[in-house]
C-alpha cells in the first residue's frame, strides 16, 4: 500500500506548502491527473483554457460535485449511497410542485426540498445504522422509491412555472463566478472543516477504518452513520436546488446515473472505496477531472459513443496510476 494516503499527513501538508509535502500528499496523484488531462485538452481544443470555458466547466461540475460531497462522507464510513441522483430529482420535483401546484412562496418550496432530501438520507441512514442492512441495497431500494415517488407526484411531467428568482441559483453570477460554483466551493469548505477539524469527522474516518474498534473505543457508530447518510441527503437536496435553478423546473427524471458519476469522482479523488481513507479535496479534484473530460471531449467534437469509451479508459488509467500498494 502506498503510504501517502492519510488524513493526518494531509492535515500537516495544509500547514506549510512545500513541494515534498505536496508530492507525498494523497492529493498529489489526482492533482497530477487533473493537470495532465487539462494540458491534453488544452492542446486539443483552443477554447479549453478560456476563462469563460473554465467557468463553464466548473458550473457543469457543480451538481455532481455537490452530490460527491455527501458521497465522500458515506464512502469514508465504508458505505455507499446509490440514491443521490434520485433523491435530488425527488427533492427538486417536490419543491417545484409546492411552488407551482400549491402556490407556496419559493422559499417554502426550497426548504421543503431540503427537508425531503434530509429525510430520505436519514431514512437510508436508519436502515443502515439501526437496521444493519447493507448500504448498497438499501440505497438501491431508496433510489427506486424516490424515482417512483417523483414520477407519481408529477405524473411524469416536468413541473415548470416556478418563481423566476430561483434561476439565480442555477445561472446567476457573483462577479464572473457562477453561483453554483460558489455554492460548491462553500460546501466543500464546510465539509473540509467537518471532516478534518471536528470530532465528528474523526469518527467518520474511524468507522471506515475499523468499525468494531471504533465502537469499542466509544464512538457512537450508529449515530455517525445515520448522520452521514443524512448529510448525503442534504447535499443531494442542495444539488437539487442548483439543478432546479438551472432547469427552471422540477424534473422527476433528472439525475439518472449521477450516483455513478459521484462515486467515480470520489474514487478518482483518491478515497478508498472500502472507507477509512481519503480527502474531501480529492473528491473536488475528481469531480473537476470528470467535468473536464466531458467538456474537453465535447469541445474536441468527438463522436458521443466514442466519448464513453475514452472516458472509461481515462478513468481506468487514472485509477491505475493512483492505486495503492
Amino acid at each position: 500500500m502506498s503510504h501517502n494516503t492519510t488524513t493526518a499527513e494531509a492535515g500537516r501538508a495544509g500547514r506549510a506548502f512545500n513541494l515534498r509535502r505536496i508530492l507525498h500528499s494523497p492529493l498529489a496523484l489526482p492533482l497530477i491527473g487533473l493537470i495532465v488531462v487539462s494540458i491534453l485538452m488544452g492542446f486539443a481544443s483552443e477554447n479549453f483554457f478560456s476563462v469563460s470555458n473554465i467557468m463553464n466547466v466548473l458550473r457543469q461540475v457543480s451538481i455532481v460535485g455537490i452530490l460527491a460531497v455527501g458521497m465522500t462522507f458515506v464512502i469514508l464510513t465504508g458505505g455507499i449511497d446509490l440514491s443521490v441522483g434520485a433523491v435530488m430529482a425527488l427533492s427538486g420535483t417536490l419543491a417545484a410542485g409546492l411552488m407551482v401546484n400549491m402556490a407556496m412562496p419559493g422559499w417554502v418550496g426550497l426548504l421543503a426540498g431540503l427537508g425531503v432530501g434530509v429525510s430520505l438520507g436519514l431514512f437510508n441512514g436508519a436502515m443502515v445504522a439501526w437496521g444493519r442492512m447493507p448500504a448498497i441495497i438499501v440505497t438501491l431500494a431508496t433510489m427506486g422509491i424516490a424515482r417512483g415517488l417523483g414520477l407519481l407526484y408529477s405524473g411524469g411531467y416536468p413541473i415548470s412555472g416556478i418563481p423566476s428568482w430561483i434561476s439565480w441559483f442555477g445561472i446567476g453570477r457573483i462577479g464572473i463566478v457562477p453561483v453554483p460554483v460558489i455554492a460548491m466551493v462553500v460546501i466543500y469548505a464546510l465539509a473540509w472543516v467537518l471532516l478534518q477539524r471536528t470530532a465528528f469527522g474523526r469518527h467518520v474516518y474511524a468507522i471506515g477504518g475499523n468499525e468494531l474498534a471504533a465502537k469499542l473505543s466509544g464512538v457512537k457508530t450508529q449515530f455517525i452513520k445515520l448522520t452521514v447518510y443524512g448529510i448525503s441527503g442534504l447535499t443531494s437536496a442542495f444539488a437539487a436546488l442548483i439543478l432546479t435553478g438551472r432547469l427552471m423546473s422540477g424534473q422527476p427524471n433528472a439525475g439518472v446515473g449521477f450516483e455513478l458519476d459521484a462515486i467515480a469522482a470520489v474514487v478518482l479523488g483518491g478515497t478508498a472505496i472500502a472507507g477509512g481513507r481519503g480527502l474531501i479535496l480529492g473528491t473536488l479534484i475528481g469531480a473537476v477531472l470528470l467535468g473536464i473530460l466531458n467538456n474537453g471531449l465535447n469541445l474536441m467534437g468527438i463522436n458521443p459513443y466514442l466519448q464513453d469509451v475514452i472516458k472509461g479508459l481515462i478513468i481506468l488509467l487514472a485509477i491505475y496510476i493512483g492505486r495503492e500498494w
Partner: protein, 500 residues
Amino acid sequence: MLQLSGIKKRFGTIQVLHGVDLEVNAGEVHALLGENGAGKSTLMKILTGILQPSAGSILIEGQERQFANYDEAIAAGIGIVFQEFSLIPYLDAVENMFLARELRTRFGLLDRKAMRKRAEDILARLEVDVPLDVPIRKLSVAEQQFVEIAKALSLNARILVLDEPTATLTPSEVEHLFKVMRELRRQGVAIIFISHHLEEIFEICDRITVLRDGEYVGDCLVSETDNDRLVEMMVGRRIENSFPEKPSIPQDAPVLLNCQAVQLRRGGPVSDFVLREGEILGFAGLVGSGRTETALALLGAYPAAKCALQVEGEDIRFREPADALARGIGLLPESRKEQGLITSFSILQNISINNYGKYRRGHWFLDLQKERADTETAMQQVRVKAQGPMDRVDTLSGGNQQKVVIARWLNHQMKVLIFDEPTRGIDVGAKAEIYQLMRAFTAQGYAIIMISSELPEVIGMSDRVCVFRQGGIVATVEGTAITSEDIMTHATTGRVRHVA
C-alpha cells in the same frame, strides 16, 4: 475495590463461564491466569460492559454496577487494553488515543495542539518514542501495543485491565511496561493483568486468580506460590520440562533452502542463510528488526528489492505464497486474525483451505468425507478445543485459533515451515505441545524457521539462530553459543552489513 461474583456467560448453547469470582484491591496488580479458552478475555469483556453476563454481579467499591456498554464502564473508571488490537489503522497515534474522547476548542473544533501535548506526556510517562504523525498501521506491533496502553492510560482509569499486553513486547519493553504499572499501583490503581508468561506474573503481580474451563479454581498471593503449583492449578496436571531434547544435526545434512541474498529495501542490508534438513533455525531480534518481512519476502508475499533463493539446489523466485506452497514451503503468520484465519469459515474449512489437492474425487470434485476425517485427526493432534470441526473459528479463544492455523500445515508433505511467533498468546500446556510438534516435524526431515521474540523459546528450541537488526542478519550463532547475552548483544549492537 472490585468484586465480581458468580459471573456466568453462555454463547448460544455453549456455557463459557460457570460462576466465576474475582476480587481485586486498589493498589494491587492482580494476575488472571488460565489456559487458552479458560474464559479470561470473556470475563474482562463482561467487566468492561462489552458483553453482558448471563448471571452474577459486579461490585465496585461496594456498589452493584451494570454496564450496558464500554462507555459506561469508562465513566465508572475502568479501562482496558484488548487482547486483539482496537486501533484504527489509518488514524495516527494521537487520533487513536483520543478517539471518542477528543479535546475541543471553544468553537467545538478539535484542539489538536492540546491532544498532541497530552499524548506526548502520556507516551513520555511510558518512556516510549512513538511517531505521532504516522498512521497507526505504519507502526510496528510493539509501537501499536504501546499506543493501546497509552490510550487506556489516557482514561485515568482506577481499574485497568491489560489482556496479554506483553505478548508482542521484547524484554526491555516489558520492563518499561512494568515500571509504568508499578507507578500506577503506587497511585492506587487496581490492575488486572493477563499473561501466559509465568515469570512475568512473579515479577509484577501481587495476587493471582486462576480459571480453568470457565470455572473459578482459586486465588492466592504470589508470594505464597511457585511456578509448578500455578501450572498445576491452571492445567490440572504437571508439565514436564517444556523444551524437547535437541537432536544432533549432521553437518552434511542436505540444504533444503539456500537463501543467497535477500534485501528488503533498496540500499538496505543484504542477508543470507541456509536451512538444513531436520533443523530449527531461529530468527531472533528486536521487534521490528525485519524478521517477518524477510520471511514474507522468501515466499513472495513481500516486495523485497532482492531475493535470490535456492530450494533443494534449484534457483527459484516465488511470485506468491502459492508457488512456495507448491515447493513445500509454508507459513504460520504472525497475526492470526489478519493473516491467518478466514473468520467466516469453519475450523474444517480453515484447516483444509490449501489442502484440496488431497481431497479430490474424480479429479475435479472435493472428497468431503476424507476432508472431514483428516480435519478431525489434525484437530486432535494439536488439541483444538471446540465442539466440532464445523464451529466457526471466530468463536474460538485466541490460543485455539492459533492451533487451527498450525493444523493447516499438518496434512501437507511440507519441507520447510516458517513459524512466525508460533506461541504468541498460547498457554503453557499448549506451548509444550507446539514444541513437541515442531520437533516431530523436524524428525520427519522437515526444516523449520522459527521467528520468535521470546528469548527462552529461541534458546530452548533453535539448533542455530540468526540474529536480526535493522532489516538484516547481523550474526548467526550455533550450539552452545546460543545464550541470551550473546543474542541480545548482537540484536542491539550488531554491525549491519550494507551494500553499495
